[in-house]
């Protein structure tokens, strides 16, 4: 799941996977602004088949947070 999420983020925000870490979050990449954040939630739903509710999406500070939310919502391990 972790690898797939990194790929999704790198592809959406047009960066290399190597530029990302668990600590990377909104504001750390030029395209990861408020609209970019909504776009990421949409892309995650498309690729993982999981809708992240607004209440969770707002609390995402980092990729690590996203992984935790995805793990909770899908029941899959990271």
């Amino acid at each position: 799941m972790r690898e797939k999420l990194f790929d999704v983020i790198a592809e959406l925000f047009k960066v290399e996977v190597q530029q990302l870490s668990d600590d990377t979050g909104p504001g750390d990449l030029p395209a990861w602004d408020s609209l970019g954040h909504v776009a990421l939630m949409a892309r995650i739903q498309e690729r993982f088949g999981t809708h992240i509710p607004v209440e969770d999406a707002i609390e995402v500070e980092s990729i690590a947070d996203l992984l935790e939310i995805l793990e909770r919502l899908t029941g899959e391990a990271k």
């Binding site: 909504v38 776009a39 949409a42 509710p53 607004v54 999406a57 707002i58």
Partner: protein, 429 residues
């Protein structure tokens, strides 16, 4: 009676102002909308969900990121989010398309209410798109009235919708965008008399004027008026990120939206706890005020901010501010109602007991953003809900349009609920 209404959408009519024309010209346009809603909708609710999600995709792919609040609209239009919101009010969404059995021999059909006229607020025009989207999703035809000074950005969104798909085209065909002067009573009367539902966004004067317009006796009124919002915070729970989210809630829409907190009540076990909050909040608010685009202040707004700053200092409050008039944080002993608290001017008021907050909740309250522990959240929100509060989001969620909004179950009010007793089946006795 002659009319002075400028039609911005449909585009085919946009070069044809109704200026000086007989009111029947507008009536013809409305009758076209009424014919749409009286016929079965050729597109299902799922089609319309998909179309609005397509519009969201267009917003997310767009290059123009300067219009404040587009991210909120894009998030609102996602299918999963809209379904989730509708299900708060409508247990079986299939009933929006057709009669569905709810009991042994009883069925329910949730039909569009008809023609919905939306008066868009001058200060935050994007908000009108939320009520339009919900109304269009439910199958209504819509008339959007913009003020004569408003940017026709909404028309561009309808253009994008029409361009998406056949369903988008159909939803756009059921939408008319008009512009008319605030004081043109004849124009507003026509917009009102054609409505099966009136959605009034705006300040007190605007919504009262709309409600005073003649309307059919069965017209549904949804008044999204001049509400105000607050925040209640326990400094023991703050982190840099949470404070940034709270600052963002306040800075967005230049604090002119009804959901923008005007005052933060800070739980203060001692002076140090308020100090701790202020030290964290001021730099976050300054940062977000720089980061989020804002409108240019006019002379009256600038004067008001200067006046309010002086008022705080004269009355012994503490002030943090920039050198211009871009942002202001005032620490005052209690909520100062003379201070306008718009354009990024926020009051911080210390409190010890929740009763003190409840006593200061204004009658036109909408939102209280809460950052409290679970026990405090439960006890405070239970008491404050009875003081008129409509929603208690957490920091960062303040400006997320949701339903119910302003305490109103919008989907129910924008539909007609039709029951049917079904004939006995062969197995019935």
């Amino acid at each position: 009676m002659s009319l002075d209404i400028e039609i911005l959408y449909p585009r085919a009519l946009s070069d044809r102002s109704l200026s000086g024309q007989d009111a029947s010209s507008f009536t013809e346009l409305v009758e076209r909308l009424q014919r749409f809603v009286r016929r079965p909708n050729p597109f299902s609710l799922d089609d319309r969900f998909a179309t609005l999600e397509g519009l969201s995709d267009r917003l997310l792919q767009g290059e123009d990121r300067t219009y404040p609040g587009l991210a909120f609209l894009a998030a609102f239009l996602r299918s999963a989010h809209l379904k989730h919101l509708l299900q708060r009010e409508i247990p079986n969404l299939a009933a929006i398309d057709r009669f569905v059995a709810t009991e042994d021999r009883k069925s329910l059909f949730i039909a569009p209410r008809g023609v919905v006229t939306h008066w868009i607020a001058g200060n935050v025009p994007l908000l009108g798109m939320f009520s339009w989207a919900l109304s269009a999703l439910l199958g209504n035809a819509n008339v959007l009235r913009m003020s004569s000074r408003q940017d026709p950005m909404l028309v561009q969104l309808i253009d994008q919708l029409a361009d998406l798909s056949d369903c988008g085209q159909s939803m756009a065909e059921r939408t008319v965008v008009v512009r008319c002067d605030r004081d043109d009573e004849a124009a507003h009367r026509s917009l009102s008399e054609c409505a099966d539902a009136r959605v009034a966004w705006g300040g007190k004067e605007a919504v009262e004027a709309i409600r005073a317009l003649p309307a059919r006796w069965d017209c549904e009124d949804i008044v999204l008026g001049p509400r105000v919002s607050l925040a209640v915070v326990d400094p023991a729970l703050i982190t840099d990120k949470i404070v940034t989210r709270l600052a963002t809630d306040i800075a967005y829409f230049d604090q002119l939206a009804c959901s923008s907190p005007q005052c933060i009540f800070v739980k203060s076990a001692d002076d140090a706890s308020v100090e701790k909050f202020v030290q964290a909040f001021v730099p976050a608010f300054e940062r977000q005020s720089r980061a989020i685009a804002r409108h240019t202040l006019d002379f009256a707004e600038t004067y008001q901010i200067s006046l309010d700053r002086t008022r705080v200092l004269v009355e012994g409050g503490e002030l943090w501010r920039d050198q211009q008039t871009q942002w202001t944080v005032a620490v005052v002993p209690e909520l100062h109602r003379e201070i306008v608290c718009a354009n990024r001017f926020v009051q911080i008021v210390p409190f010890r007991e929740f009763d003190e907050v409840c006593r200061q909740i204004p009658q036109n309250i909408q939102t209280i953003i809460t950052l409290l522990n679970a026990d405090d959240t439960n006890s405070f929100t239970t008491a404050a809900a009875l003081c008129g509060v409509c929603r208690f989001p957490r920091p960062g969620e303040g400006n997320n349009f949701e339903i119910p909004w302003d305490g109103i179950a919008l989907a129910s009010r924008l539909t007609r609920w039709i029951t049917r007793s079904d004939p006995p089946t062969e197995n019935s006795t």
